[in-house]
């Protein structure tokens, strides 16, 4: 390894004095140009927009600065400019960064039904899984014929409990009044019975945590089913029949 160094930089040692700490690097002063040789080629390439050949003459003018290079062409757009102003994004910046943006997805899509604030990984509804594993389907959508529709014959009665929560919307904090008839088709669970209008249950519904409300609704359902005084309205809600 040392032999390679000596062969590479041996000529430099013979040519001129070595400065301190050179360790094989080129000497500080350039080697004197022999008179027989042609002048060194211009080290500064000519660039468009140059001031002129007089200021950029190679060799003689740049003699003490043999490593002098042309300054790079100045770009108009650098980090020195406020890029948000440059690209007319002030309005967008004030809109998104000036005001507080709400965290939940339901604030962005308030009309979307279902529990959309939960992570998509939990119920397999993530967009990432859709991209990574796109569903295998045909090229076109064709309407279902009578034979195909026979596969959609359902059993009568309510859904099992494990599937009921999928379409229940989280309680909206803005509407303090009970405007549940805004969407009369919503399958409100048996909690819609007249017994829910008691003031005690009204106070319970002021809880901020939606999960607690669901658990309480589930408990109410179970209680209402098992109570002998319950009129047994579980399968015949007036609201659910409004679509027919």
């Amino acid at each position: 390894m040392t032999e390679i160094f000596s062969t590479l930089f041996g000529q430099s040692e013979a040519q001129g004095p070595q400065g301190p700490g050179t360790l094989g690097f080129a000497p500080g002063k350039p080697p004197p140009l022999p008179q027989t040789q042609a002048p060194a080629p211009p080290q500064i390439p000519a660039q468009p927009g140059d001031e002129g050949p007089a200021a950029r003459k190679p060799g003689v003018m740049n003699e003490p600065f043999y490593l002098l290079r042309e300054l790079p062409a100045g770009n108009d757009l650098t980090g020195n400019t406020n890029l948000i102003t440059h690209y007319n994004l002030e309005h967008a910046y004030n809109k998104f960064c000036g005001k507080k943006v709400k965290e939940k997805l339901s604030n962005f899509l308030p009309e979307l039904p279902g529990m959309i604030d939960c992570p998509g990984v939990q119920d397999g509804s993530s967009l990432r899984s859709l991209i990574e594993k796109p569903p295998v389907c045909g090229n076109s959508f064709s309407p279902l014929t009578g034979a195909l529709l026979t596969g959609f014959r359902l059993h009568t009665g309510p859904l099992p409990e494990q599937y009921r929560l999928m379409h229940i919307q989280p309680p909206k904090k803005k509407s303090k009044h009970k405007h549940r008839h805004h969407r009369p088709q919503d399958p409100i669970p048996p909690a819609e019975t007249p017994s829910d209008t008691d003031p005690k249950k009204k106070k319970k519904k002021r809880d901020d945590d939606p999960e607690r409300k669901k658990k309480k609704k589930d408990k109410k359902k179970k209680k209402n089913r098992h109570s002998p005084d319950h009129p047994g309205i579980t399968g015949s809600q007036p609201n659910s029949n409004s679509l027919r």
Partner: protein
């Protein structure tokens, strides 16, 4: 450009509403609801056809995958836009700071070199001329 988004949005809203009504029918199914359910199923298919027709108008629209991460986490995708803008501004300020610092360093270096090597710096300025302020 907003029209094609409005068109798609309208189709999606109808589709979602149709799905929601199907969920209501299914949640407490009755035999008399079968006809309505079949109708809703075919509405769903026509809705998908309408959405697919909108796809051709939106071929040039690109959505960053990072925005999908926010949606999958149940977060507002506008937060992604907000964070992009904040990061861009922070980086802009950082680069501006570097440029300002390098400019000051350059002028300071030229001044000090002029004191130590006046002749060489005079030659340098003759070659480079007065450097324009960056």
């Amino acid at each position: 450009m907003a029209e094609k988004f409005d068109n798609l949005e309208e189709h999606l809203e109808k589709f979602i509403e149709n799905i929601r009504q199907m969920g209501i029918i299914v949640s407490d199914f009755q035999p008399s609801s079968q006809t309505g359910l079949n109708q809703k199923l075919n509405f769903m298919i026509t809705g998908l056809q309408d959405v697919e027709k909108c796809r051709q108008q939106l071929n040039d629209i690109h959505v960053p995958l990072e925005a999908f991460e926010y949606i999958d986490q149940g977060r507002n995708p506008q937060l992604y836009t907000k964070e992009c803008l904040e990061r861009a501004l922070a980086k802009n300020e950082q680069v501006k700071g570097k440029i300002d610092t390098m400019t000051k360093f350059k002028s300071l270096l030229i001044t000090e070199l002029g004191k130590v090597f006046p002749e060489e710096m005079a030659k340098y300025k003759a070659i480079h001329g007065d450097d324009p302020p960056s």
